[in-house]
């Protein structure tokens, strides 16, 4: 064979081999990247649809929080995704919503269903049918069941303690516990006098803890000292009902705070929930309902209108300024040690006006019972 002829075409073969290898590698990469992009795009529209449905439900909650009677349908446009939201009041919708065989009965009163359908890249025709588009699309449905809250809180005394054997620590004579109805401005209230301190059993054990000079510091019905047996209250149930309404929450297990708890000056109450013990220091004013899952210490100046619930000890500690409550106070008592400490300038007065203010202004909110996504 001619050696020159045998060398012909080697470069071409090399070039073809190399090019083929590169084309295969590039093709493999292209397929992988394309699949990745497809998955990412679908994941993105799914997430957009989910977020849109959640946003629609949140929007409905915001509307209901300012107008608990709100009903109807609306759309939320989030630029690229949308949410179609319907708000239905079960009270009088003519449907057996809770599947008990009865329509619009008491169980369905004040119940609200929010349905939010989030759509990403989905378009409906005028009949509500999905138009088939050649783009990736998704939808997600969020269903929220709500209940309107109607408060009807009442007090049968100024200070309620769930245990007739509770240990009180009364120090000095600068305090006053009054069951006489007192308005928030200090004037006489319209209601008849209630006991200053109420408990579920024989009050003799509490009365015996008052020194002779302190007995006229607990006034009201039957006093002084105005300490009486009152109706047993299911405090835990009441507290559990109120907790979801809290707009200010302390995470616990032990928190300290100084400042406003609601707007006392403008009589705008809020619900405050401490998920543990709470120390109120400095200068604290408030209006509304304070719920404490533990002990509560009042160390500084304290001025509050409304109702205080505590599942632990109540300690009004001396020094730091006066402590004033207009409304009512309820406690289950401490796990150990003194249940209630009254030390220093403490002024606790039953106020039907403050309780009515709380009932009126905090009623009509909505409580989330169920939140599901389909």
């Amino acid at each position: 064979m001619n050696p020159r002829l045998s060398r012909r075409g080697n470069a071409l073969l090399l070039a073809l081999g190399a090019t083929t290898t590169l084309i295969v590698a590039a093709g493999t990469l292209l397929v992988a990247v394309t699949q990745e992009r497809t998955a990412t795009e679908q994941s993105m529209v799914n997430a957009q649809a989910r977020d849109a449905s959640t946003s629609g439900a949140e929007d409905a909650l915001a509307r209901l929080s300012t107008d608990p009677k709100f009903e109807g349908a609306f759309a939320v446009d989030m630029g690229g995704s949308t949410a179609d939201v319907t708000v239905v009041d079960w009270t009088d919708d003519g449907v057996d919503n809770d599947n008990d065989g009865t329509k619009d009965e008491a169980d369905e009163e004040d119940m609200i269903l929010v349905t939010s359908t989030g759509r990403s890249n989905e378009t409906l025709d005028k009949n509500g049918n999905l138009i088939d588009l050649p783009t990736r699309h998704a939808h997600s449905v969020t269903e929220v069941i709500l209940r309107r809250t109607d408060l009807n809180l009442a007090a049968n005394q100024a200070v309620y303690v769930d245990d007739p054997a509770a240990l009180f620590k009364f120090a000095g004579t600068a305090f006053l516990i009054s069951g006489n109805d007192t308005n928030m401005d200090g004037s006489k209230g319209p209601n008849a006098a209630l006991p200053g301190i109420g408990t579920v059993g024989n009050p003799a054990g509490i009365i015996s803890q008052l020194k002779a000079t302190q007995k006229d510091k607990v006034i009201g019905d039957g006093g002084p000292p105005s300490v009486a047996k009152v109706t047993d209250m299911d405090l835990m149930t009441t507290m559990d009902f109120l907790k979801p309404l809290a707009t200010k929450v302390f995470g616990g297990p032990s928190d300290s705070y100084s400042g406003d708890l609601g707007d006392l000056k403008n009589e705008k109450p809020i619900v405050v929930h401490a998920k543990g013990s709470l120390k109120l220091n400095g200068n604290t004013t408030g209006c509304g309902i304070l719920i404490v899952d533990g002990d509560v210490d009042f160390n500084g100046t304290f001025d509050f209108a409304g109702i205080i619930y505590a599942s632990g000890a109540i300690r009004f500690n001396g020094g730091g300024g006066g402590k004033n409550l207009r409304g009512a106070l309820f406690t289950l008592g401490a796990v150990s040690g003194d249940d209630i400490t009254i030390n220093g300038s403490v002024d606790l007065r039953y106020s039907s006006e403050a309780i009515a203010l709380v009932n009126e202004q905090l009623s009509g909110g909505v409580e989330v019972l169920s939140w599901r996504r389909k």
């Binding site: 020159r4 060398r7 070039a15 990469l29 069941i145 559990d240 989330v368 169920s370 599901r372 996504r373």
Partner: protein
């Protein structure tokens, strides 16, 4: 020699073209290598963030409807006793019930009240030593994540934090944190 045989390429031309082709092939191979390496790096990063997204999506799917008051757990490093979940305490196992509707005047739970609560916990294979994150509900178990080194559940306000550390198979173990706001009291 016949002139026809002298046509074609000279040795010098073949050498030059081979050198150019070799350079181009090596350049292309190097570029491909860099591209593959970069794509691999991107895939690892994407797997990390994608893993977080998938974890969050998985946990959200399981826990979105969970009732806060139903949460219970076994504290980390403290035996096996189940307790109602406390705030800011680390738990190694989570037990819960979802609110799934309102029937006959009452909230309905899944699993139903009176039956065992759903459990989310790390199970360890005694042979391999590998851990998996397991969801146990109504007597059935399903694996949510594999190669799980540790898991911590923590509640702060209404936010449930889930910290899962997994072996990545690539570099050091990765800890992914998912925060879920629980809306149902």
């Amino acid at each position: 020699m016949n002139r026809r045989l002298q046509r074609g390429t000279s040795l010098l031309e073949v050498s030059i073209s081979t050198a150019i082709l070799a350079f181009l092939v090596f350049a292309a191979a190097h570029a491909s290598s860099v591209a593959i390496s970069t794509a691999d790096d991107v895939n690892v990063r994407d797997a990390t963030t994608g893993g977080e997204r998938r974890n969050a999506s998985r946990f959200e799917g399981q826990l979105l409807s969970v009732s806060l008051s139903s949460l219970q757990g076994i504290p980390s490093n403290q035996g096996v006793a189940v307790e109602p979940m406390l705030e800011k305490v680390d738990y190694q196992e989570l037990q819960f019930r979802r609110v799934v509707g309102y029937e006959k005047g009452a909230i309905t739970y899944e699993p139903a009240l009176g039956t065992a609560a759903a459990r989310l916990y790390r199970s360890v294979d005694p042979k391999s030593g590998y851990g998996t994150l397991v969801l146990e509900n109504r007597g059935q178990s399903s694996t949510l994540l594999s190669d799980v080194r540790s898991v911590v559940f923590r509640l702060v306000d209404s936010t449930l934090t889930i910290e899962v550390t997994t072996g990545s198979g690539h570099d050091a173990p990765i800890t992914r944190t998912t925060n879920l706001v629980l809306r149902v009291p």
